[in-house]
């Protein structure tokens, strides 16, 4: 009964979305206020209905209602409760339902807090948002209905893929979707602005928080996925340039570009048409990401549900929205007249460089990801594009970005004098050089990755600090706390990028690995740590059987940690997983993996010492935190867009 209720709510939501995409749009062009304003209750109703539908599916999973095909295929009575809930979106149908739920949530949020938007803009934004919704409701209802019943309900389900039964991965998809779908708001605003033929600072002030929020969620989502890969896949890699990872990374890069270019529109009324184009592209790439994951055109470790028919449907949605958006852009972009003027050497110029680097690096990821498909279509060549390519083709852009970032961040608007902008950065430059020398000295004979990666990281952190100090002017450090939150957000996010650089650089260069047959109570040494295998036991988990080892780690005779690496077998899916045991530290992780019993006695064991590993995710947290601080800036809290803000005074230097 509850499932049918959810099914019906979903159909109603589809109907409301169709209403919401047509009526307010007509109202806006005819100037009928009643028609326009009906978008707001429609958006709220659409969200309410989708939420009911999602709740119904969640109830089915929580109560293990195996008469639903989806629940039977992805759940099991013995599964812990948290994974019964995360199982709702741990499959194709449920995850698409989550996708439209978040889409409706964003639409409802825009309707609820958009009271002071111009009525025509609000009506058009909500109508465009609803049209995206309608397309995905149709996709769900016609190709991926989660509410299908089974004729004869089985006694128990087939369980969720064990790899997905993990805290990191349980919350990875919702965050990614918040990011992907958040970009749909930027898209809707861009399309609405193109229809209106008007882009100004107030518009940018509306788009920026949505983009910032989307980017922040994408950052968290990607970091969760990467962290999961680190501890779950058993060799401690953190990024694989897998097509599905790239699918989330491209929108992230473009969202980062968009939130920077929107600053220029907001403060200086320049780069308008480029910002519109970026907004269309960023959401376009979110949908390309969905297409890559859902269609299975590009094989990947992660794609748990792929189906050509669904792929074609999503390709259609992608073509209509991106193609339509770009066509509209081509027709109307000429009407966006820029107002602000600036010299190439200025904050605006630096942000243009930022956009060039981020957009081109997203392009490199795109070409690399799609190349195997393209080569097969064009020349019938079956080839692969993997990490070695991306490391070579992508990294140079990030190096240039990191070198340029502190210079650009400290420059004044309109016109900068390079020598003056350099002055506050002299100290950071000197200290960075010292840090690079130090890293070079302790890592002789090893690759340049440590020196460049960590050196640039130090440069980014010190540069951000210098920027903050510089902003206090002559009034001393006591003003630091009274700086606008936007300044703090910027500094924290940029420093976070630096922390991630340090983590990636030092982990890649300094990691040590040991593979051996370990015998019980016979210690062995890995970069200064004595590791001893004490025991290996069979342990019964709630829905798996585990081979659990107990291993002591000591340094200079003092015990550092006792770790329990496991390998599990989930009998329902007959699938093994590794659960590495990690001793987390600020400066190093100790990472142990247990393998098979060996014929001659003993166990295969892999041990790693991974320096600065946690800095990678710490940096991501800082980036997201920076976004959050920036989002709480006064100018967004005080009636955003209600009146044209006075242009912020530009320092006289």
């Amino acid at each position: 009964m509850i499932a049918e209720f959810g099914h019906f709510a979903l159909l109603l939501a589809f109907a409301v979305a169709i209403y919401q995409m047509i009526v307010p749009m007509i109202g806006a062009s005819k100037g009928w206020l009643g028609w326009m304003d009906s978008a707001r209750p429609a958006a709220l109703a659409q969200f309410g209905l989708t939420a009911l539908s999602f709740a119904a599916l969640t109830v089915a999973f929580v109560t293990s209602d195996f008469s639903l095909k989806l629940v039977y295929e992805n759940s099991h009575t013995a599964k812990p409760m948290i994974y019964k809930i995360s199982g709702v979106w741990g499959n194709h149908e449920g995850s698409m339902l989550l996708w439209v739920l978040i889409l409706a949530l964003f639409g409802a949020a825009a309707a609820a807090i958009g009271g002071n938007l111009p009525p025509t803009l609000r009506a058009r934004v909500l109508a465009v948002q609803a049209s995206i919704g309608a397309a995905f409701y149709a996709f769900i209802i016609f190709t991926s209905n989660p509410f299908l019943r089974l004729q004869t309900p089985p006694f128990d389900g087939r369980d969720l893929n064990p790899l997905l039964q993990d805290p990191g991965l349980a919350f990875h998809p919702p965050f990614l979707y918040l990011g992907y779908v958040g970009l749909s708001m930027a898209f809707s605003f861009a399309i609405a602005a193109l229809i209106e033929g008007r882009v100004d600072a107030a518009w940018a002030r509306w788009v920026r928080p949505w983009t910032l929020a989307a980017w922040l969620f994408l950052t968290i989502g990607i970091a969760l996925g990467s962290w999961w890969a680190y501890y779950e896949l058993g060799w401690g890699g953190f990024w694989f340039w897998d097509p599905v990872e790239n699918a989330s990374f491209m929108p992230w890069l473009l969202a980062a570009a968009l939130l920077h270019s929107a600053i220029v529109v907001e403060k200086r009324e320049a780069l308008k048409s480029w910002t519109i184009l970026l907004a269309i592209m960023a959401f376009g790439f979110s949908m390309i990401g969905t297409f890559i994951v859902r269609s299975g055109v590009i094989t990947s470790v992660h794609s748990f549900a792929s189906d050509p028919a669904r792929g074609v449907f999503i390709l259609g949605i992608l073509a209509v929205f991106t193609g339509g958006g770009l066509t509209l852009y081509a027709a109307r972009a000429g009407e966006m007249t820029a107002k602000g003027v600036f010299q190439p050497v200025s904050r605006e110029g630096a942000l243009v460089l930022n956009n060039v680097l981020l957009a081109v690096s997203a392009f490199v990821v795109f070409v690399g990801t799609m190349w195997p498909l393209f080569a097969e279509l064009m020349w019938d060549r079956k080839l692969s594009v993997g990490p070695p390519f991306f490391n070579k083709a992508f990294t140079p852009f990030m190096i240039v970005l990191a070198v340029a970032l502190p210079f650009g961040a400290i420059m004044p608007w309109k016109r900068a004098v390079l020598s003056r902008s350099l002055r506050p950065l002299r100290m950071p430059l000197l200290l960075t050089a010292a840090a690079m020398l130090l890293i070079y000295a302790v890592s002789t004979g090893r690759s340049a990755i440590a020196v460049i990666g960590a050196g640039l990281g130090v440069w980014l952190i010190l540069g951000s600090a210098a920027d903050l100090v510089h902003r206090t002017g002559n009034s001393g450090l006591s003003r630091l706390w009274r700086l606008p939150r936007a300044d703090w957000g910027k500094a924290v996010a940029h420093a976070g990028l630096g922390v991630t650089f340090i983590g990636v650089g030092l982990l890649t260069a300094w990691q040590t690995e040991d593979i051996r047959v370990a015998r019980i109570d016979q210690p062995f040494e890995v970069s200064g740590y004595q590791i001893t295998l004490r025991a290996v036991d069979e342990v019964q988990g709630p829905n798996y059987v585990s081979t659990m080892a107990r291993m002591d780690v000591a340094r200079h005779g003092r015990t550092v940690a006792t770790l329990f690496p496991e390998k599990r077998v989930y009998p329902v899916q007959a699938m093994p997983t590794t659960e590495a045991a990690i001793n987390n530290g600020i400066f190093r992780d100790i990472y142990l993996v247990i393998g098979d019993a060996q014929a001659g006695g003993g166990w295969a064991v892999r041990s790693y010492v991974k320096p600065f590993a946690n800095w990678i995710w710490l940096g991501c947290i800082l980036m997201a935190l920076g976004g959050l601080i920036s989002l709480s800036d006064r100018r967004y809290r005080v009636a955003a867009g209600a009146r044209r803000a006075p242009v912020k005074a530009v320092p006289a230097e």
Binding site: G349, N355, V364, A375, K382, S384, G595, R606
Partner: protein, 152 residues
């Protein structure tokens, strides 16, 4: 076909261990072993979904890892080993595609795009900067008048 590949993958990975490189594969010569690892990370497991043979648990990956080590012990250099594997399995196993034929476009796409973007951005910024100069907004007569005034 895809389903078959999936079934094959499952069959090959399931009964195997959860460790990729096994202790018995490791060469005693640390230098050769390091080179073997380096090569393994560039070669794609032919039956898995996007894993290199160094990380993969599939049986064929183990065979390939052993083969790579065998060749290294016999004195081949890195390129010869990779060539030998490519001869057998095709360029599909290369994670770093060779810059031959159409692949040149792949390698040049990034740098070319960067160049074009920089040129476009630079010309755009020159335009934005020129608007600022008040001279551009003066008509010819005004300019003449200004020059006269300046001369005095």
């Amino acid at each position: 076909m895809k389903r078959l590949a999936l079934i094959l993958t499952l069959l090959m990975t399931m009964p195997m261990s959860v460790l990729a490189v096994q202790p018995d594969e490791v060469l005693s010569d640390a230098g050769l072993e390091a080179r073997a690892r380096q090569i393994s990370q560039k070669l794609r497991c032919p039956v898995c979904q996007g894993e290199n043979i160094d990380e993969s648990n599939a049986a064929i990956s183990r065979d390939l890892r052993l083969y790579v080590r065998e060749r290294l012990v016999e004195g081949d250099d890195n390129d010869e080993v990779i060539d030998a594997v490519v001869d057998r399995f095709g360029e599909f196993v290369l994670f770093e595609p060779r810059a031959t034929g159409g692949n040149v476009i792949l390698w040049l796409a990034g740098p070319l795009m960067a160049l074009i973007a920089l040129i476009v951005a630079w010309r755009f910024m020159r335009n934005r900067a020129q608007v600022v100069s008040p001279r551009a907004q003066l008509t010819e007569d005004e300019q003449k008048r200004l020059d006269e005034l300046m001369r005095d």
